[in-house]
Symmetry: C2
Subunit: 412 residues, 2 copies
C-alpha cells in the first residue's frame, strides 16, 4: 500500500482532545488505503517546560543530557496518539527514535540524520499495522545516546521518513492553513498559494516566513518529497493547504510568488574605514566569531583611501556586533571613525522563481517603493529574490504596495 507521512505540531496535539482530532485525520487517510507514518511533536508547552528545567540547573549544559531530557515530550505524544488510534480500531503502535532506529551523527541538540532503516516498520505494515506513530525531533547517536535534531526537528523528521519510505506525500499539519503571498496580518489581500516551488519556500523561510523550517524544505528538495502544509483546525480536503513541490510541477505562476518581511533588522555602518585589501575579512571575521548573523553588506566607493562599510543583522545582535568591532579596533585589526547602528529598519523581500526568466522585476520593485516615497537603504538580490532595507515605519506600506504591484491578490 502507498505510504503517507503526516506530521502534527505541538498546537495540533496540545491536549487529548486535539490528539483525538488529529487521529481522525489519520483515520481519513487510512480509509483511503494509505499506510500512514505519523510524526508527532511534544504537546504544546511541554518542551518549553523541559528546557526551562534544564536552564534552571545549568546554563552551560551537557548537550547529551539536554537531549535525553527534552526528547521525552515527543515520546509521550507518540504513545498517546497510538492509544487513540487503537481506540478507533486502527492497528497502530508508537516508535521512539532509538527504536526505529533513526540514526544521527553525534552533534547533540543539532544532530543530522544519517540513516532511517525501513525494515522494522515495513515488516509491521506487512503484518497489518496501518499506522506507525513516531516521536519526532529525536534520534540515536553512534554511541547509543539520544540526540535531538534542533529547531524544526520534527518537520525534518517527517521529511526524512517520507524520503526513506518513498512516501506519496508528506503532510505537515500546523496552525496555519498554508503558505500565503504575504502575511495576512499585514495585507488583507494576502492569498493562499495552492503550490509553491521548493526554492521559493526556502527563500521565504529564511526571510522570516515561519511556516516551515529551512532545513526540512532543503531535505524535501534534495529527495523531491512533495510537502503539503495545512491546518489541523480546518475540515480536510484534497485541495487544502499549500503544496511545496518541484518547479516543474507548477504549471503557471506569477513572476513574484510572495512578499516576505523581517521586522527585527538593524543597519550598522562603519564610517570611514581605512580601505585596504583584506579589510572585509578583518571586519566580518570577528563578527562571525561573535555569532553575529550578517545578512546584507554594501561597501561605498573608496575616496582618499577610506570607505564606509554597511551591513545588516538582527536587532538583538547589535550589542554583540558593537563589542566585536570595538575589540577588533582596539587590537589594531581595523580602523574606523565611527560606528552607527540604525535599529529602526526592516527588510522587505520579493521572492519568485519567475524572476529567472523575467526581467524588470527589480525596476518595478524600486519604482513602487519610490512612488510611495519610501527610501531604500540597502539592496541585496539573488536569482529568485530581491531584498531591501527600509525605515521600519514604512514596512507595512511597502509590503502592501508590492503585493498590489505584483498582482499577488490574483491567482496566476
Amino acid at each position: 500500500m502507498p505510504v503517507l507521512v503526516m506530521k502534527f505540531g505541538g498546537t495540533s496535539v496540545a491536549n487529548t482532545d486535539r490528539i483525538r482530532r488529529a487521529a481522525k485525520r489519520v483515520g481519513v487517510e487510512v480509509a483511503k488505503g494509505y499506510d500512514v507514518i505519523v510524526i508527532v511533536s511534544a504537546m504544546a508547552g511541554k518542551t518549553n517546560e523541559l528546557v526551562g528545567w534544564v536552564g534552571e540547573i545549568s546554563p552551560l549544559h551537557d548537550a547529551r543530557e539536554y537531549d535525553a531530557v527534552v526528547s521525552s515530550g515527543e515520546n509521550v505524544t507518540a504513545g498517546l496518539m497510538a492509544l487513540v488510534l487503537q481506540e478507533m480500531d486502527i492497528p497502530a503502535r508508537s516508535w521512539q527514535g532509538w527504536q526505529v532506529p533513526l540514526r544521527t551523527n553525534s552533534a547533540h541538540s543539532a544532530a543530522r540524520i544519517e540513516e532511517i532503516p525501513t525494515d522494522n516498520i515495513t515488516a509491521k505494515f506487512a503484518e497489518g499495522m496501518r499506522v506507525a506513530v513516531v516521536a519526532g525531533f529525536q534520534g540515536i547517536s553512534p554511541e547509543g545516546r539520544i540526540t535531538t535534531l534542533g529547531r524544526g526537528g520534527s518537520d525534518t523528521t517527517a521529511v526524512a521518513f517520507a524520503a526513506a519510505f518513498d512516501a506519496e506525500r508528506c503532510d505537515i499539519y500546523t496552525d496555519v492553513d498554508g503558505v500565503y503571498t504575504t502575511d495576512p496580518r499585514i495585507s488583507d489581500k494576502a492569498r493562499k498559494l495552492d503550490r509553491i516551488a521548493f526554492e521559493e519556500m526556502l527563500e521565504l523561510a529564511s526571510l522570516g516566513a515561519k511556516v516551515l523550517q529551512t532545513r526540512s524544505v532543503e531535505l524535501a528538495m534534495r529527495y523531491n518529497v512533495k510537502l503539503r502544509v495545512l491546518s489541523s483546525f480546518e475540515e480536510p480536503s484534497d485541495e487544502a493547504g499549500t503544496l511545496v513541490c518541484a518547479e516543474e510541477e507548477i504549471m503557471e505562476s506569477n513572476v513574484v510568488s510572495g512578499i516576505a518581511y523581517s521586522r527585527e533588522e538593524a543597519k550598522m555602518t562603519l564610517v570611514s574605514v581605512a580601505d585596504r585589501p583584506g579589510i572585509a575579512a578583518a571586519i566580518f571575521g570577528p563578527l562571525a566569531e561573535a555569532g553575529v548573523n550578517v545578512d546584507m553588506i554594501i561597501q561605498n566607493i573608496a575616496e582618499e583611501g577610506r570607505t564606509d562599510m554597511t551591513f545588516s543583522c538582527p536587532t538583538d545582535q547589535v550589542k554583540r556586533a558593537e563589542k566585536a568591532l570595538s575589540e577588533a579596533k582596539a587590537a589594531g585589526h581595523i580602523n574606523y571613525h565611527d560606528l552607527i547602528a540604525d535599529t529602526e529598519v526592516a527588510k522587505v523581500s520579493a521572492v519568485g522563481i519567475g524572476m529567472r526568466s523575467q526581467s524588470g522585476v527589480a525596476a518595478k520593485m524600486f519604482k513602487t517603493l519610490s512612488d510611495e516615497g519610501i527610501n531604500i537603504k540597502v539592496i541585496a538580490t539573488s536569482e529568485i529574490k530581491i531584498s531591501v532595507l527600509i525605515d521600519r515605519k514604512y514596512m507595512e506600506l511597502a509590503v502592501q504596495a508590492l503585493h498590489d504591484a505584483f498582482g499577488l491578490d490574483k491567482a496566476a
Copy 2:
C-alpha cells in the same frame, strides 16, 4: 571502588531545587570514595499527569503504549540529575532503562526484571565516571518495547541494581526518616528503629506500613542487599534512617519490633453455610476470581451440618465480594442464610522475629487488649506476626496499648 546505590523518590526530586539537594547527598557519598548508581523516580505529580492522559484516551489501554508514555517522567529526572551533578564537577551521565539495558519479561506495566548487565556502567566507572543516574521503574522487553515495573518499581530497580553491582548498600531516600515501631501519628511514643530484619519489614509492608514496597524488600532479602530507608529532608549522617538487613546482623532486638495497623478493613460473615467438603473452595474461588483480597479467615465449628464462615477484606472490595457471593449462591454453588458485612473494623498487628524464640507473645497481646476492654473479632497468626480484627473505634487505643505493653518506646 565500592559501589553504592541511592534511590530518590518523587517528592525528593519534585523540582529543580530538590534535585539539587538530592545531588548534594550524592556528592557526600562520592567524596567518601563510592562509585554511585542513582535511581530516580519521576518528579512528584508527573507520573499521575501521564496516567491521567492515558485514562482520558483509553480506559482499556494497550499496556505497551501505556508503558511508553508513563516511563518518560523518570527519563526527565535522570537527565536533570546528571546535569546537576556535572555542575558540581562530578563526572556523571544518565541512563534510560533500554540503554543499560535493564531486561525484563514482556508483562507490560508489571514487568519482572530478568537481567541487568553491568559491563556498560562498570566500563564508565573505570573511565572515571563517578555517578550513573538511572531512570527507575522501567526496562526493555525481549521485543524491544519499553516496559514498566508496576507499583514500587523504582525501589525494585534500586535493589536490583544493588544486587547486580554487588553494592555495599542501597539507600532509599524518601519523605520519612526511617521505619518506626508504629505510626508516629497514632502514638507519640513511636521510636525510629535503627535496624529491622527483612522478614519483619515484609510483614510490616504487607500490613499497611507504606515505607517500602513488598517487592523490593523480597528482592533485597533474596540477594541479601542491605537496604537503608532515610529522609532526603534531613541532614545526612551514618546513623540516619533504618537499615533493613538480614536477621543475623541485628544483635539485640525486642521480641516485637513494630505494631502495624490497617484502618480500611471489613469483616464479612456468611451465616449458616451448608457445611460440606469443598465448601471453602466454593466460597473463596469466586472471591479470588472477582479480585477480592481475602486476608483472615475463620470457620466456626459446624452444628447440624451448618456453619458460619467469616473473612476480612479491604473495605473498598466489599461490594465486589457481595456480588461474587450472591452470584455463586444464585448459581447453586453455595448456600447461606445471610451475608453480613461489618465495615467498622480495623486490623492491628504485632510483628517481630523474636516471636520465633519467645513464647507468650500472643497471650500478652490478648491480655493487653482485654485489659483495655477491646473485643477481638478475628485472629490470624504467622511465625513472626499476630493480627487481630477489632472495632475500628478502638484502633488507636489498641496500637498505643500494645506499643506500651511490648516496650517499644525503649530501645532493645
